[in-house]
């Protein structure tokens, strides 16, 4: 029989490791999740013997203003309370909670940093999963909110979102002072992804404290750009680019913003089912192009993503 040699790529680099969540002996109160460490393109066991760990984060927000309706509906009344919402995710097998403190938005509820930090502490108390915490996307306010949250949750090793080129110092400082990790966001560009890691490490963060978010565009809304930017980032990291050797987070919840995901389209089936597949398809593109953390909104989309990871021989 013909011999088919395995065409392995000769990678020289690997993805760095990172831990989220601290257990008691490390000053926290939860389980920890370890990410990264891979030395090949996603899910190719002939190239990378390491099992691939994927962490699935469930979206929780402390205000429903920006939460897509079908996602809200999936949690019913639980969505009115971030603590119950997070508990539901934990029961449904999420690895992480991704908490958006939308209520602090100065143009909406304008909740105080203290009350936002109270919410974070309540969620930390209710579930033993590591937390990703975002503000409301309002630069000035976020710096105050994340500073307060960082302090109060000291030792829990949160992942704080997010730092970007135009605004990274306050969130980086909040993380460094309290032992948290930071998401470095960039807008669909490998060079900008590298740039934010350089800025954060120059500021003093270790590479083991950084996760990059190159912006996951949803299916039908530029997915192909993200897919290729992610692949290029991953290939550069494996080829030895030190600055890109950090785990990657892909937020797939923007899938619900695509009209085609949930509009009535003749012959395109049930809108909720289609929406779930829209998010799951976005997640799958993220997984195959290099994501280590997925943020998902709908629990059924998370089930599909988890099914995919396990069918691909990964762990979550």
């Amino acid at each position: 029989m013909a011999d088919v040699p395995l065409p392995k790529e000769k990678w020289t680099g690997s993805i760095g490791e990172l831990e989220l969540g601290n257990s008691q002996d490390k000053g926290g109160s939860r389980r920890s999740v370890r990410l990264g460490g891979n030395r090949g393109m996603p899910f190719l066991s002939f190239e990378d013997g390491e099992r691939r760990m994927i962490a699935m984060a469930g979206l929780v927000a402390d205000s429903l203003d920006e939460v897509p309706q079908p996602v809200r509906d999936a949690f019913g009344d639980d969505a009115k309370d971030p603590v119950r919402w997070a508990r539901t995710w934990a029961a449904r097998g999420a690895d992480l909670i991704c908490l958006h403190l939308t209520s602090t938005n100065p143009e909406e509820g304008d909740a105080s940093p203290e009350s936002a930090a109270d919410t974070v502490m309540a969620v930390l108390k209710a579930v033993d999963l590591p937390l990703i915490v975002y503000g409301s996307g309002h630069e000035e306010k976020d710096s105050k909110v994340l500073e307060k949250v960082g302090e109060r949750a000291r030792g829990e090793r949160l992942l704080l979102g997010h730092a970007e080129e135009s605004a990274y110092k306050s969130v980086a400082a909040a993380a460094m002072a309290n032992g948290h990790a930071v998401i470095g966001f960039s807008n669909l560009d490998i060079n900008l992804a590298k740039q934010i890691v350089i800025l954060l490490t120059d500021f003093g963060l270790g590479k083991g404290d950084i996760v990059i978010d190159p912006l996951m565009a949803a299916l039908g809304m530029g997915l192909e750009y993200s897919y290729s930017v992610n692949e290029r980032i991953r290939i550069s990291a494996l080829s030895g680019d030190n600055m890109l050797r950090v785990p990657m987070i892909c937020d797939c919840t923007s899938a619900w913003k695509a009209r085609e995901a949930t509009d009535d389209v003749p012959h395109a089936g049930d809108t909720l089912e289609r929406g779930v597949w829209w998010e799951a398809t976005t997640a799958l593109a993220a997984l195959l192009s290099g994501a280590d953390i997925l943020v998902l909104g709908h629990p059924e989309a998370m089930e599909l993503a988890r099914m995919a990871v396990s069918d691909l021989g990964g762990e979550n």
Binding site: V4, P5, L219, L223, G269, R274, T281, A285, M307, L312
Partner: protein, 441 residues
């Protein structure tokens, strides 16, 4: 094309100059640069000619099924990653029917396949192929079913049948439509190759072992059958990803001829099957065969294929048009953006989020984003005015106001002169639109 040195190995080495080049090596260099034709050397041996023809063949063979306007091309890919250039021939989707279905069931399934037809950013998204499986074990019945399906739909066909006798009859009956024959396994390969040869129809080789597949390719090629497709028969998603990757990498990175063919994959039923299919679209599947295609999963699958097979150099463009967002009336303002799909979708979703009624004018910038288009001279006061005139925007909105992207604030004066509208400079980032629009109201 091979390098000059590789070509040189196969030349007669007479240095006679009859090719109009002083030496065989000089001729080889011209060949390598496509500046000479092999026929210019009168002394080529048959063996040398064949060797050169195959070394200049593409790493993955192009296989075409169907005829006339209804063809599907598979293979002829040159990249592992789409960002290196592009993926060329979109994964084809086949829906499977079988000869044990009643006429009504058959027609219903074909109708369903045809109903999955969508238009999206100027392209038609649809399934491509009907696969007809022989389950009855009855050759007459199978051929009748094939003929019936042929009347129902003019798409290319896949004939799925492992019985070489039935396949031979069916292939010769259907040969004018150039169906794909699925397929040969190590037990029936001789007969299947003979059928492929006599009917001229491309053949799928099936084995879950890539070494055996390579052997089967060799058997087929010895008989002169070159239009081959490989079915690596993965039992699960992991096997599929790995086998497809090995096939694609071997063909492209190692020019391994034994695996340089398009890939056929049969999808299991259910959610796992759809996850496999989505993976195969991204990772090297050429033809996916489905036993069922739930409507709610079809559109995500089709859009994923459209996204992945987009030429990274040529962005998807949105039709220049005046799009109503949030039910605008005559007092709603006009906003403009470019026809680069990503820009458009982002702006659209941010306007929707604001819930403020707006007329969104898309300006043709050849698919460039706002700032790039402006720098390249593709977004000018004139092009904006022309777009507004073409879409009759001023008849729809009487607010007399045009909101422009903050990135091109410097266009304000010229735009005011050319359109006569009051120019309001919007935010630089689309994400600030909801707040901006609400404050404007």
């Amino acid at each position: 094309m091979a390098t000059a040195i590789e070509i040189f190995k196969h030349l007669p080495k007479k240095n006679c100059g009859e090719c109009k080049y002083p030496t065989c090596l000089a001729f080889a260099m011209q060949l390598a640069n496509n500046k000479a034709k092999l026929d210019d050397c009168p002394h080529m041996s048959e063996a040398g000619r064949n060797a050169l023809a195959s070394s200049s063949a593409p790493p993955i063979r192009l296989v075409r099924i169907g005829t006339g306007r209804n063809t599907v091309d598979m293979g002829d890919e040159t990249e592992l990653y789409r960002h290196d250039k592009r993926f060329f021939h979109p994964t084809a989707f086949a829906l499977r029917v079988s000869d044990d279905l009643s006429i009504e069931e058959l027609e219903k399934k074909v109708d369903h396949a045809r109903s999955l037809h969508f238009e999206r950013v100027g392209q038609v998204l649809k399934l491509d192929i009907v696969e007809v499986e022989c389950r009855s074990g009855d050759g007459v019945k199978y051929v009748q079913t094939l003929e019936h399906v042929s009347k129902l739909v003019d798409w290319p066909l896949v004939l799925r049948c492992r019985d070489p006798v039935i396949m031979s009859a069916a292939a010769n009956r259907m040969r004018e439509r150039r169906p794909l024959l699925h397929g040969a396994d190590p037990d029936n390969i001789k007969e299947m190759v003979a059928t492929s040869k006599s009917s001229g129809c491309p053949l799928v080789l099936c084995s879950d072992d890539l070494g055996k597949l390579t052997d089967m390719v060799e058997v087929a090629r010895k008989e002169g059958v070159e239009d081959l497709v490989l079915d690596p028969m993965p039992g699960n998603m992991k096997d599929m990803l790995e086998r497809c990757t090995v096939i694609r990498r071997s063909a492209i990175r190692k020019t391994f001829r034994g695996l340089g063919y398009p890939i056929y994959l049969g999808m299991p039923v259910g959610k796992n099957g759809m996850l496999m299919a989505l993976t195969a679209v991204m990772k090297y599947g050429s033809l996916l065969s489905f036993e069922e295609m739930p409507s709610s999963q079809a559109l995500p699958l089709l859009v994923l294929r459209q996204n992945i097979y987009t030429d990274p150099q040529v962005p998807i463009q949105v039709k220049p048009y005046l799009y109503p967002v949030n039910n605008p009336g005559p007092d709603a303002p006009i906003l403009f953006t470019t026809n680069f799909s990503l820009t458009y979708f982002t702006v659209l979703s941010d306007i929707e989020k604001s819930k403020v009624p707006v007329w969104l004018q898309v300006v043709d910038t050849e698919g460039l984003s706002v700032l790039t288009a402006y720098s390249a001279g593709k977004l000018t006061a004139d092009s904006v005015r022309n777009a507004l005139e073409a879409s009759g925007a001023n008849g729809r909105s009487n607010r007399g106001m045009l909101v422009i992207p903050g990135m091109v604030a410097r266009m304000s004066v010229k735009l005011n002169e050319s359109t006569g509208l009051q120019i309001v400079v919007g935010p630089k980032e689309s994400s600030a639109l909801p707040k901006f629009l609400r404050s404007m109201n």
